[in-house]
Symmetry: C2
Subunit: 316 residues, 2 copies
C-alpha cells in the first residue's frame, strides 16, 4: 500500500503539447512546445471511486473512465500502486482533439503527474512512462513513446529504446517552432493504418542519411546542414493527402524561409522551424493563407522548443 | 588543356583501407584505418598510353586498363581534364581482394591522388570524388561513396548526400578498431544482390533509433550509449551466412569486451570497436580463435580511426 500525503486535497498539473516524428525521426523524435497543453485536476474523494467530473473541451470526449486516457491511467496507477483513495477528475483540453499535437499523451501525463503528487514517495519521471504508454494504448491502440517522452521530460528527445526505456536529450538549437492546426480530423489510428508495412531499401538509406545528418546538425549547431536534411521521404508522402494542398503549404513555408515543414505527429497539424521569431510569423501566415485558399480554417502557435516537461501547477 | 608540372616525373600515393556501413549506417557511414592501404605509383610516359606495369598483390587482378579501378580512373581523369601525357602504373595492394576493406576504393583514390599531383592546378579533394565513384562502378557496378569518402578525406564520415556530395566529419572517439579478414571471398556485387529490396517498417524504425543514438553518442563521447546502439537489424542478418559461425564470432567479441561487431563493408571482413588497445588485442584473438574453430584462416589489424585520408608519399 502506497502512503498518501494527508495534507493534499487536490492537485492540478499541466502537460505541454508535443510534436512527434519531426520529419526525420518517425516514432523516435519529439519535442515539447511552450504555451499550449492540457491541465488535469485531481480531487481526492472518500468513496474510492474514480470519476470524471468535467471535461473542458470544444469537442466531445468520453466520460467513461476506461475510455478516457486521463482517467484510464489514473485507474491503472491507483490499482498497481495500491492507492487507497478515489479521485474526481477535471480535464481542461488546451490541445485540439486528434490534431497530431500529442493531446492524448498530454492528458494522460498531466493526470499522472497530478496523481503522483499525492504520494508520500512519488515515482520518478521514468517510472511514470509505462503508465503514460498505457494511456496511448487507450487512445490509439498502440504504445508509442514519441509524444509521451518529450511531454514528461521536456526538451527535444530521442527515444532510442522503448523497452527498456532509453531517452537521449538532444541539443536545443535556438530556432522557433511554428505549429499550424488545420481544422480537419485525422484520427491517429487511421493515420497509422494507411502506412505501408514495407519500405524500399533505397529510400530507407536516403532517409537514414537525413536523420544522421540532422542529429549531427543539432550537435554542431549547423542551421544549413539541418535545413538540407529536415525532410521525410518515407512517411510524409503517404500522409500528404490528409491535408488538401499539403505541398502548396510546404512550398509556401519554405519560400517564406522555413528550415523545413512536415506533419506534427500523424497530422493534420503541421510544424515548421524558423531561424527567428520574425521569420516564424511570416512562415506561419504563409501556411495559414494557403490553408485559407483551400477553405480550411486553422489555429497556430509560435514557440521555442520547451526545455520543460509536464509539471504540477497547484496543490491545495 | 590542363598544364602539368614539368619537374614531376613520378608520384607515389597511399590510400588507406576503410570500413564502411559500421553496423548502423548502411551505405552512409565509413572510417579510415591506420596502417593498411594501397599504394599506386604513376610514372609519366611520352607515348600518351596508360599502361599497368605491375600489380603487387597475392591475388590476380585485371591488367586490362579499363577493368582495373586504378587505371580506369586515371584514364577517365586524363580524358576529362585533357591531360596530354601517358602514365605507367604500378599498384601495390596492401588491402586483401574482395575483403570488404575498401580495396577497390583505395586503389582508385591512390591513383587519383597521384595523378592529381602532376597538375599545375590540382583539383580539390571533393572534385576527385566523382572520378573515384567511377572506379567503384568499374569494380562493383554501382557508385557507392561510403568507402571513397573516408578514403579521400580520412576520419569518420557520414555521406549525407551523394549528388551533390555532402560529407559530415563525425567526432573521433578514442576507441580502437579491430579488423579481422577471414580468408573467404565475398564479391561486393554478390553481397549486394542478395539484399531484400523492401524492409519492414518496424525494423526500419528500430534501426533508425540505433543510428540516431549512435550519432548522438559520438558527439556526447558516451561509450555506454554507443555500445547499446552499435547494432544492425537490417543488413547483417541477411549477410551473416557469408561467414560460417558469424554469431559465435560476434558473441566471442562481445564477451571479450567489444562495443559492437559487424561486417566491414559487405564483408567477409569483420570490424569491432574496443575501449582500448589491451581489450582490442583480447577481442581480436577471441574472434580469430572462433574462425580457427571453423577452419578459416584470417588476418587482423588493430588501429585507431585515422584522421588522415589518402596522400602523396613520394614525388620524383
Amino acid at each position: 500500500m502506497n502512503l498518501l500525503r494527508d495534507s493534499v486535497h487536490a492537485v492540478t498539473a499541466f502537460a505541454p503539447a508535443t510534436c512527434a516524428n519531426v520529419a526525420v525521426g518517425f516514432d523516435i523524435l519529439g519535442f515539447a512546445i511552450d504555451g499550449v497543453g492540457d491541465c488535469v485536476t485531481l480531487t481526492r474523494r472518500e468513496d474510492k471511486q474514480i470519476v470524471i467530473d468535467a471535461i473542458d473541451s470544444p469537442a466531445t470526449l468520453p466520460l467513461d473512465v476506461d475510455k478516457n486516457t486521463a482517467s484510464g491511467v489514473v485507474k491503472k496507477f491507483c490499482q498497481e500502486l495500491k492507492i487507497d483513495t478515489g479521485f474526481s477528475i477535471r480535464i481542461s483540453k488546451g490541445i485540439p482533439l486528434s490534431s497530431g499535437m500529442g493531446g492524448s499523451a498530454a492528458s494522460a501525463v498531466a493526470a499522472l503527474i497530478a496523481c503522483n503528487a499525492f504520494l508520500s514517495v512519488p515515482l520518478s519521471a521514468s517510472e511514470l512512462v509505462p503508465y503514460a504508454l498505457f494511456g496511448e494504448e487507450i487512445a490509439s491502440g498502440q504504445q508509442h513513446a514519441d509524444n509521451i517522452v518529450p511531454c514528461i521530460f521536456g526538451g527535444f528527445t530521442l527515444v532510442s529504446s522503448v523497452e527498456p526505456l532509453e531517452v537521449v536529450q538532444l541539443p536545443l538549437m535556438e530556432f522557433c517552432c511554428i505549429l499550424v492546426h488545420p481544422h480537419l480530423l485525422v484520427p491517429t489510428k487511421e493515420a497509422r493504418k494507411i502506412l505501408k508495412e514495407q519500405l524500399p531499401l533505397k529510400d530507407c538509406i536516403k532517409q537514414s542519411a537525413h536523420l544522421a545528418a540532422f542529429i549531427a546538425a543539432l550537435y554542431k549547431n549547423d542551421i544549413r546542414l539541418l535545413k538540407k536534411n529536415l525532410t521525410d521521404l518515407l512517411i510524409e508522402p503517404q500522409r500528404a493527402h490528409f491535408v488538401p494542398g499539403f505541398y502548396k503549404i510546404k512550398d509556401a513555408a519554405l519560400k517564406a524561409g522555413a528550415l523545413g515543414m512536415s506533419f506534427s505527429g500523424s497530422g493534420p497539424s503541421l510544424f515548421a522551424f524558423a531561424k527567428n521569431e520574425v521569420e516564424a510569423v511570416r512562415i506561419c501566415a504563409a501556411m495559414q493563407e494557403q490553408l485559407k485558399a483551400e477553405n480550411i480554417d486553422s489555429d497556430s502557435w509560435i514557440s521555442s522548443i520547451s526545455q520543460y516537461g509536464a509539471r504540477v501547477q497547484e496543490i491545495t
